[in-house]
């Protein structure tokens, strides 16, 4: 499976969305941290794609999987804004395990 790319993507986007939260609701430091984690997770998803698909197919595969995880994040966020980013840590853990399978 190559699900780890999508899982990292979801976790990354969920953090980036948290990093864009309204100032009144989220502290600035927390938003900055979420943004950094978000970008790092997107980088991890690219590395996972590189590992799984090889250098030749990694970019299209990464972009495709990332787009779908982005759509899922937005759909969940629009319905359950508070809960959308909650599973990012378990998702990252599962993705890490999948990377080594």
């Amino acid at each position: 499976m190559s699900l780890e790319v999508a899982l990292f993507g979801y976790a990354g986007f969920a953090n980036l969305a948290r990093g864009r939260g309204r100032k009144a609701r989220t502290a600035t430091a927390e938003r900055s941290r979420a943004r950094i984690i978000g970008w790092l997770l997107l980088l991890a998803s690219f590395l996972a794609a590189l590992l799984r698909f090889g250098p030749y197919q990694a970019v299209p595969a990464w972009l495709a999987l990332l787009s779908v995880s982005g759509v899922v994040v937005v759909l969940v966020l629009s319905r359950w804004p508070a809960r959308a980013s909650a599973p990012w840590m378990p998702m990252t853990a599962v993705a890490l395990v999948l990377c080594f399978l």
Partner: protein, 518 residues
């Protein structure tokens, strides 16, 4: 600048939108072209054989049924396409000015026995694939129209990116139940999140047929267009027959030799030129399942002696790029997960076009005012394309199970059922108020998709419990749920624009203001 781009974006999207929606929907379905064909021939469950054996049986059938044709093309089976597909081209008219004979229709053969597949006659997934770029119009008009719409789409994508100034700020914004704002959000989200896919699929779609749209560079540099492909792909289509009879060598040997030269890679296609002549050639093409470049390497052998004549030259950067673009568009390189991802992105593209079309109408609808002619026309065309086409596609699949398997001409009948359902439903929807028409056509589409698993179970009985058929029927049930959800959401929504007279009576300033925003 942004205003001009917004104007261009709106009109390019609107004028090509209905055709683009049909192209997106059928193109998305085409990611599963072999699977759709397999589902549509449930009685056909062949025994898998080695490629060399499939090549031998196909050649034996061709030697019996089209021995004197100019060219045979054999698509060998793989794990997705279970049958061997063969096409032949008749010898040209002796008149040198006569056009090249067209390719004869496809015949599907059992790889083990080499006899035509004993299954119900159907066009299967091939129909969606062909419709996607030919639009069921005579050649070359369908391809030209598809190309024109793709050019509009590319223009709409570029102008849309320039127009959308809050592209990053609105990245995660999707607000439900806010009328026009929600449609705009949905259009932005479906467009921006999958922007790399939309740009790629549109541009590569255009490039796929670029030689047809812009033949002049080839005409300016080559006396015969065939010389162009001969020089780039080692194409032997233009090779002349000597007139002396010749017997083809064992086809299995060619397959094994080519596969060994490609370090075990699979042979996907065999093209045999002048098969009954002493100068016959056998060209084998490497499978591109494991690489982005869809234009794979080829090796040509002398058909009679088996001598290796030529191999395709190492592709230059331009040919490699063209091959990769074709590969990206077709998605053959994608394994099961990536194929599903491409399918979902295709659905996102459908959503982008559909929400854009609806947004055009919603933006121009004034609360309390009677819709002008153009708005009503767009509304009706939106219903006809967005809500009725899926119903037509479901009817196509249902017809496959409902029509008697041995009925003569049933393949064309299945296609007719799709168009009658699509256009018939669009015509009937004109008799209903627009809002009711949306709800009813979407609900009918949902019912038709929901009926597919049930009819499948009734028609093929226990065979429907096979993993493949369960997955296919499950997907149909999911599509039914999606259309049903859309119909349910519409039915739940207060009838704002659909009842302008009632709204006009509520001429309280506060209410009008709220409705303007919604």
């Amino acid at each position: 600048m942004r205003q001009s781009m917004a104007w261009i974006h709106g009109w390019l999207g609107l004028l090509a939108g209905w055709i683009l929606f049909a192209m997106f929907v059928t193109g998305t379905a085409s990611y599963f072209r072999p699977e759709i064909t397999r589902w549509m021939q449930p009685e056909y469950r062949p025994r898998p054989v080695a490629n060399a054996e499939a090549a031998r049986t196909a050649v034996a059938w061709l030697q019996k049924n089209a021995p004197h044709d100019e060219q045979w093309t054999i698509y060998l089976p793989n794990e997705r396409t279970l049958a061997t597909r063969v096409f032949t081209r008749a010898r040209p008219n002796s008149d040198p000015k006569a056009p090249r004979a067209p390719r004869r229709p496809e015949t599907r053969l059992d790889p083990a026995t080499g006899v035509p597949v004993e299954g119900r006659e159907t066009r299967g997934g091939e129909f969606f694939y062909r419709f996607h770029f030919q639009l069921q119009l005579p050649h070359p008009w369908g391809r030209w129209l598809a190309g024109l719409c793709a050019m509009f789409m590319l223009g709409a994508i570029l102008s849309g990116v320039i127009t959308h100034k809050r592209i990053f700020a609105d990245f995660f914004t999707l607000r439900w139940n806010k009328g026009q704002r929600s449609w705009l959000d949905a259009h932005n989200v479906s467009a921006v999140l999958a922007l790399p896919y939309h740009a790629m699929i549109t541009y590569t779609g255009l490039i796929t047929l670029v030689v047809m749209y812009m033949p002049w560079p080839i005409l300016a540099n080559y006396a015969q267009p065939a010389a162009f492909s001969a020089s780039l792909y080692a194409d032997t289509a233009s090779q002349k027959a000597t007139g002396r009879p010749g017997q083809l060598a064992d086809m299995g040997r060619f397959v094994e030799a080519a596969s060994a030269e490609w370090q075990g890679a699979r042979v996907s296609r065999i093209i045999i030129g002048n098969p009954d002549d002493a100068s016959s050639t056998v060209t084998l093409l490497r499978s591109s399942d494991d690489r982005l470049n869809a234009r794979s390497a080829s090796i040509t052998y002398a058909g009679v002696s088996g001598a290796r004549l030529a191999a395709s030259p190492a592709p230059g950067p331009a040919i490699e790029t063209a091959g990769v673009m074709l590969g990206l568009h077709l998605g053959w390189f994608a394994g099961p997960l990536l194929r599903w991802v491409c399918f979902l992105l295709g659905l996102t593209g459908c959503a982008m076009v559909a929400t854009g079309l609806v947004l055009w109408a919603v933006k121009r609808r004034k609360p309390g005012a009677k819709p002008f002619f153009g708005l009503s026309l767009v509304d009706r065309l939106n219903i006809g394309a967005i809500a009725c086409l899926p119903a037509g596609m479901a009817a196509f699949l249902l017809a496959n199970r409902v029509l008697p398997p041995t009925l003569a001409g049933r393949a064309d009948l299945e296609v007719s059922v799709m168009f009658w359902t699509w256009f018939g439903l669009a015509g009937l929807s004109l008799l209903r108020p627009a809002r009711r028409a949306w709800i009813e056509t979407l609900a009918l589409g949902a019912l038709l998709f929901a009926a597919i698993p049930i009819v499948d179970l009734i028609a093929i009985g226990g065979g429907a419990f096979d993993g493949f058929f369960l997955a296919f029927d499950g997907t149909m049930a999911l599509l039914a749920a999606m259309l049903g959800f859309a119909a349910w959401r519409l039915a739940r929504r207060p009838a704002d624009a659909a009842q302008p007279r009632r709204r006009a009576r509520l001429a309280v300033p506060e209410v009008r203001e709220v409705m303007d925003v919604a």
